[in-house]
Amino acid sequence: MYLSQKKIDERLMELKEEIPMKMYNDLNRELSKVKITEEALENILKDVLRRYRYAKVEPGEAVGILAAQSMGEPSTQMTMRTFHYAGVAELNVTLGLPRIIEIVDARKQPSTPSMTIYLEEDYRNNPEMAKKVASTIGNLYVSDLLESDELDYLGSKVILYLDEYELDKNEVEVDEIVSKVKSGIKGIDVESDGKSVVLSLTKGKNTSRKELKKILTKAKIIYIRGVKGVTRVVMRKEGDEHVIYTEGSNLKDLLKIDGVDITRTKTNDILEVHRVLGIEAARNAIINEIQDTLNEQGLIVDIRHLMLISDIMTVDGDVKAIGRHGVSGEKASVLARAAFEITVDHLLDAGVKGEYDELEGIVENVIVGRPVKLGTGMVEVVMRRELEESKEAI
């Protein structure tokens, strides 16, 4: 007598609470392929559950120490300083141990901020369109479009000769330059005849050389377009799609540009991910960044350890560093903090404030010489009041 699919589904639903989604899906998929008796099903489920429970981490296991050691050991294998290039030859990205330290320290800014930009379907296979997106991302200044410049001391003018080839390449209209220069510098008139832009002072003609030179330098660094913060843009073909890499990072403005794939585009600046996409995205970014850095060196660390590290860094809604200014520095226990770093300061401070130590943690208990609350030390014997009272009654 084989079980019907409905019966199997019902039986599996009962287990759904206990087992992970992935296991449930696997079981569901495999069991739908076979004809099976009730006894066989029960045997399978019993075995699956037994193995699952066996694989689970036991209560009281020191998972934090395991994670720390599992990540610390491979780190010793890493070269101290690598100037490797992540995929793109022209772009320098910090990798190896310095990068890991940077992530775990939750630095305000990574030493080499960089973005990997994927493009939307219509753009990714078309080099022309991809180039167009790349050119809107890269910063363009007035100086990039000039052939030469001239200072007219008699007429108190600054003349900028435009490079038509560059104008064409970047698809910039002369009017655009005129309006940008006009709004960028005060007290000047701007005129153009298509090939050059003439800046003349509005008040008086007795301007000094110094002042004209000042205007010229100001005009040259006027920003025409691009994403602020991006300093270099490199395009590369990866498989059958075009991917853009940048030096400098500005996710918020970048994701607003047409053609950029908002689902996959990423940055290596974790705090920026937190600002733009939120704390959960930051958690995922930390995991991905650590894993990519380790894998790049050929080291493999179980992702569960990285997930734990990442979770601890993000529990409080903010990306905290692992160390003095973050996780370790915010421990509730005075003794635990004192045991970590700057012992005297912590003890003195606690004394002044009259802090209290509950002796709940590991380090505190090691210091005072009590059993540590780990593993079998987690459990305590509790007296059941009713039982004692009923004894007395007898």
Partner: protein, 80 residues
């Protein structure tokens, strides 16, 4: 040239939803903890703002996990 930023579509951002008051009570009861013991998220977090959660709300996050396939995580909204 420019468009609105839709952060919830990004691959790094999991699904967020606000728990109703009953669901929240059931959860806290099941875990035998108080609201303050849950992981936290700031009121000004972009995703919290997007789903219009207020301080004290519990948010259920459906994470895509490499190990468990899919898992739930809960955060309570706090003032930054």
């Amino acid at each position: 040239m420019t468009r609105k930023l839709e952060i919830s579509k990004h691959k790094l951002v999991p699904q967020h939803e606000i728990l109703s008051e009953e669901e929240a009570m059931v959860l806290l009861d099941k875990l035998n903890i108080s609201r303050g013991q849950l992981p936290k998220t700031y009121k000004n977090d972009p995703m919290v703002k997007k789903i219009k959660a207020t301080v004290g709300d519990i948010i259920r996050i459906t994470r895509k996990s490499n190990t468990a396939g899919e898992s739930y995580y809960y955060r309570v909204v706090i003032e930054p």
